[in-house]
Assembly symmetry: C2
Homo-oligomer: 769 residues x 2
């Protein structure tokens, strides 16, 4: 837990230079545009503690697996979105001494991330060892319009000296990952060229053979006038630079404008890359910093117009929720169906930038509500494109006949994870991917997505469930043995409620999909039957049998479902009675102790109850919440949002607010002391859900919008923006009033506190309460 970020409605602000905070701030002040992104590393040299990170979406390296004890079925590698060519670098030397904040005396320092406009600013005054004082201000952004371009305006003012200032903009592809399994470098050089203020570097990843061309161009201005002194170039393998010196007098202001482009073989032929990099740089040079920024800023303003959340009466909360929305929009723009959302986005190495079930469970709702329909759809298409790999993955584990198991962790559809209790057993992820199809169709009404993409995925997953259960002669029921639920503080358990419930639900939903296809797309369905060798009669007969006879462990006395077999054998002391020094248990208890304790890392049984809340009475939800919540330690950032939503649903408003607060400023306050590794991007989706679904009580049921809003006591009002059914809505809750403002011409209906209302185009619904 830290508390150094200054509260502000629209900005993230840090004042004063604390080297111990540097890695944390590098994460928090990260910028990205969905295509690429980077940690808030310094332009000038920094010899202090730092994690350099420049990431390009989709460019990965398969780092050979390293485990203690090999288990059959482990993947050969872990794919990692890797640290790539650093394009921000600008060496600065003043009278021969290199500017380096680890060595200079930092007299003042301020970092600012303007979320409204997508601009990172860093200003400081430093005194070098030679006594020269400079005031430096850097402005940096990666364009959300021209997504290959990054731009820097770097100003140096001579405060107390005359002499020579030398700047050295460079491109450095000789970079590495801190988390490399075998201390290898992942990049080799393909080509480099440098001349005058311009330079290009093309590098290629080992094994995967991705190529990346990065271009740069810069100009030097002195008090607003272009400096025309000689430029000296330097180069070595995977590195180019251009140096220019200028004489300065006290008070002079030198500006370096550096533009870069990053293009890859994901988008262009390899041969064309250097040329494409040059074209992009030329475009940037022609436009200039201000015009580039203007278009970028306007794009951000548009994004905010559809996704902002306003909170009156709590600046910290306001800053927190906007930071989440900002980072989600920086991470994924939905324009490329080959891309997805890594748990850390472009902000660190941890989890390798690869895709988990987090995307479907915690991020999809945000993009569904705040971005064009295509964006959420592309997240689904991403999985459809991996279906064949998911079938291969299941085959490796002994499944057959087109059963699909989506990987726990992936970038290209192949499993990368290597911990048996997760990789092989945390199979509820398959259900999350099926549910996402339902979620998307339920929200958008785009049922045609089932024909055929949605259906194909559902078929593969249903076949998996059908094979994954077995008949228990003893119980005369189908059982699902040896699984790990979302609560990873239990491993290899039998009959995890969430997994089994999702399995049964998937089978039912697939049967519905079949009915729909047979009716609406009979020819297409026949094609699918052939393509997937689908024995409808036999396969669906088994599915129906499983639906009828699936086993769920219950506590009859408490009248609740049990998380898994044997749960009641545990010592059920609530978390509140644990000694404070034992928490978090994942830092204080050995793994076996965690496993035999009842404590729940993140919503598990409650995850199903949240997803399928319409299938349960409020009393049922309450009984389960009252049993499981006191046993939940919320040691995953993905946990509190679900509890918050359910708490709101059953009328526990204080609890809903308490749960919301646990993740709303997770990274800004470095709540878990791990922000230095990168931001919890997917958890930010959960926080958004928690806001809109807990406070707003928003829920889409049968493609119909419903709200059960309440206003946390400490706030004056809140408002959020969503798209639904083609309409753009602003939803506001004030102390005594609830409003839905329809900013579009499209009529829309919404049920509020149980009553259905029509909201005509460009009108406002006002309800007192």
């Amino acid at each position: 837990m830290k508390n150094y970020i200054i509260h502000h409605d629209w900005k993230i602000v840090e004042e004063g230079f604390v080297p111990e905070h540097n890695r944390i701030s590098e994460s928090i002040f990260s910028i990205g545009n969905g295509k690429m992104g980077q940690r808030a590393n310094f332009e000038e040299k920094y010899s202090g503690d730092t994690l350099n990170g420049t990431y390009v979406a989709g460019i990965y390296y398969p780092d050979k697996t390293r485990v203690g004890w090999w288990k059959n079925g482990y993947p050969e590698y872990f794919a990692k979105i890797i640290n790539s060519t650093n394009w921000i670098g600008i060496g600065v030397a003043i009278n021969g001494e290199e500017l380096d904040l680890a060595k200079a005396k930092v007299l003042s320092f301020k970092r600012e991330l303007d979320m409204q406009h997508g601009l990172l600013t860093r200003c400081f005054v430093a005194e070098l060892q030679n006594g020269n004082q400079v005031e430096v201000c850097s402005h940096r952004f990666v364009s959300t319009v021209a997504t290959e371009i990054g731009a820097i305006r770097y100003t140096v003012k001579a405060l107390n000296f005359d002499g020579e200032l030398k700047v050295t903009p460079y491109l450095d592809g000789d970079v590495e990952n801190e988390d490399s399994n075998y201390d290898e470098k992942f990049w080799v050089e393909v080509a480099r060229a440098v001349g005058g203020p311009e330079g290009y570097l093309t590098v290629e990843t080992l094994k995967t053979g991705f190529q990346l061309s990065t271009g740069m161009w810069f100009q030097l201005l002195k008090n607003g006038n272009k400096v025309e002194t000689d430029i000296t170039n330097g180069e070595r393998e995977k590195y180019i630079e251009a140096s220019q010196s200028v004489s300065v007098e006290k008070g002079d202001e030198i500006v370096v404008e550096k533009f870069s482009s990053t293009v890859s073989s994901l988008d262009y032929e390899k041969e064309a890359l250097p040329e494409k990099a040059k074209e992009a740089v030329d475009l940037a040079v022609e436009a200039g910093f201000d015009a580039l920024f203007e278009s970028h800023k306007n794009r951000w303003l548009q994004k905010w117009a559809t996704s902002d959340i306003k909170i009156e009466g709590d600046v910290a909360a306001q800053q927190g929720i906007r930071f989440n929305i900002f980072q989600l929009n920086q991470t994924y723009s939905g324009e490329d169906e080959r891309l997805n959302i890594g748990p850390k986005g472009f902000t660190g190495e941890k989890y390798g930038g690869v895709t988990y079930w987090d995307t479907e469970a915690y991020c999809l709702p945000f993009y569904l509500s705040t971005a064009p329909q295509k964006v959420a759809r592309n997240l689904l298409v991403y999985r459809r494109k991996h279906l064949e790999k998911a079938i291969e993955n299941a085959e490796k584990l002994g499944f057959k006949n087109g059963a699909a198991l989506y990987p726990m962790v992936t970038i290209n559809g192949e499993e990368c994870h290597n911990e048996w209790e997760i990789t092989f057993e945390e199979v509820h992820r398959n259900g999350a991917i099926a549910y996402a199809i339902y979620d998307y169709i339920n929200y958008t009404g785009d049922k045609e997505y089932l024909a055929p993409m949605g259906f194909e995925v559902l078929l593969g997953i249903s076949r998996f469930w059908s094979q994954r259960v077995n008949w228990s002669v003893d119980k005369e029921k189908y059982v699902m043995l040896g699984v790990t639920g979302p609560n990873e503080y239990e491993n290899n358990v039998n009959n995890n409620f969430h997994t089994s419930y999702l399995a049964v639900w998937t089978l039912k939903y697939t049967l519905e999909a079949i009915d729909y296809l047979k009716k609406e797309f009979p020819f297409l369905f026949e094609e699918m039957v052939k393509k997937w060798k689908f024995n409808e009669l036999n396969e669906t007969a088994r599915w129906k049998d499983i639906i009828d006879k699936m086993y769920f462990a219950r506590d009859e006395k408490r009248d609740i479902y049990l998380q898994q077999d044997g749960f009641l054998d545990k010592d059920l002391t609530p978390v509140a009675e644990l000694p404070a020094e034992d928490l978090p248990i994942n830092q204080n208890w050995s793994w076996d102790r965690i496993l035999r304790a009842p404590y729940i890392k993140q919503a598990d049984t409650l995850q199903s109850l949240y997803l399928f809340q319409e299938n349960f009475t409020t009393e049922e939800l309450k009984r389960h919440f009252d049993f499981y919540e006191p046993l939940t330690v919320h040691e995953s950032s993905l946990s509190p949002c679900v509890h918050s939503i359910l708490a709101a649903k059953i009328g526990y408003q204080d609890k809903a607010y308490e749960m919301y607060l646990r993740t709303s400023r997770l990274d800004l306050d470095d709540y878990n002391n791990d922000t230095e590794d990168g931001l919890h991007i997917t958890s930010m989706g959960g926080t958004w859900m928690s806001f809109v679904m807990a406070f707003g009580g928003m829920r889409v049921v049968n493609n119909k919008l419903t709200f059960n809003p309440f206003l946390p006591e400490s706030w004056k009002s809140y408002g959020f923006r969503i798209d639904f059914g083609g309409a753009h809505l602003e939803v506001k809750k004030q102390r005594e009033l609830f409003l839905i403002i329809n900013h579009s011409a499209v009529d829309v209906a919404a049920t509020v506190w149980g009553t259905e209302h029509k909201i005509a185009g460009n009108s406002t619904l006002e309800i007192k309460k």
Copy 2:
């Protein structure tokens, strides 16, 4: 599975040089003397595929843990008995060309391990690239009398050439482990000295700081006469050599006699090591090869006199069982209570040469029956010396108040294993260590071992069990959650029968020990109460409650105990019905599939039934055997022996013989294709058990010897030797006759087929059947 070892009563023989078999033969032909040992590497250079291995008992390196995903409680390192200074090396150059069997043409090749006398011989004829043919014979042993000494007689005969022969005996400490986690070398040089035919090298392990001094001396004989040509010395870091050349004519026979000594800081002050190494070498030189071998050979003959097993009518079986006995005696001599038995002994790197529960469960019975009482006792003392570390280990996992958890894998008492489902959960090992105390006392009658050493260990273990169980409100019983039994194809299960049964047994036995101590050693007991802060009243009250109310899962229909909760939910298809290509499942199935299947890697419920067979009726044993045996895949070499013994007990003689055969030639025939990694030393103890306890039906009940022998149909007779109650017995089974020959002056009693007999000193009991 290979089949190239030639069958012979007393010798292991390989003929012909097959480089692909080299690593396997290096394991099989290993020699050792309990203090040190080595793989059967060649003396002369060999550039082909080889695993160099020279190991000194107790000299280890803590290799930093490398895992994929860290879990709380994992140890920092894995201790490894490491490859150390190679003292066998003798470079041979003939007319300037180095002899190297990977490059020469091998015209004949024979390796022979004389188990009766402990001598490794290798003879070959090779033609070098220069056309020179040599006949080489090497004889090598590590003395079982002067255990610091190794001796080599290496003969080279010039078959078809005249010219110059150069030999270069050397010591090489610049060695590494193939399994080094971080590709480090573990040794640094302390000192080296070389002059004339003599040299010394002292090296030290990183981190642990063990020092090892190795000395060498050699002489060269030509046709029996000492060669007096100049000796040239060479040296570099961690390496010394001495070269001597001699001119030869066709037919000349050159002999190199090389003696070495290996002394370590385990036994001497570091400063004294070089001197001690020299003293030992001098002693060897003075005695000479023949005298050294004579004493060594006689020691082996003595060992055979107390431990041999003879089989008439089956040479392969005879060779197999003697090989096991030979290797067990090579690995552990019981003279040093700091040492123990690594699963691979001195024959390879795998499992790091560290100690597992294998020692107590599978090796102790062999040493109890065939070696002086002190030998088995030292295995117990080894664990007593680690009690404080076992208490620390338990504390790391959250236990308190003196609860002890012995490590899964250790060398110095600290846990080295790093796989949570084993390290933290395979806690039945604690029971094996408690049972070993009972086993020793039951066999030897040395009940005083309880006062205090045995009791202290039992107390720590009982405290562990007492804390490891918890009360299930639901079941109104004590349960043991989250354990892994001996069957490692189940992980993190609840209420594993074997573990829970052992826990209850330990508590009962500790209560008995307390009664005994209070009666026989009241003052000592009072001291123990204080020393261990033993609250007898409260602690034993809880133990008694656990004994009364422990939960065991049962199948009431079949009237058997279940291996664990939920076992009946599995698909119980017997192993015999699996497709052949699925076996072994550990090579063909993914881990999750193995876990949810019912297949048993090694005796688990049956392990308890074997240990405590007197607590069950034969019908009960049969019911359990009939249920579990068909589900057992025996993919651990420690499994068949237990099944063999139980099968014999319930009258399934064919099954007993079948199970015996599965491990009797495990390494000689490379049954599991892994002999190249080293020999399955601890499994050899199991094979011995299987012989004596299944065929001999030998069992000690209340310190009384019993036999229920039978003779497998394909054999003419067998006989084994045991020590019991101070007597030395030869037990023989012929087709129609059973004999116990008492080779000592001590009277002894034995129950045979239910009838008790007295066998007076130096007499024979004969029973027809």
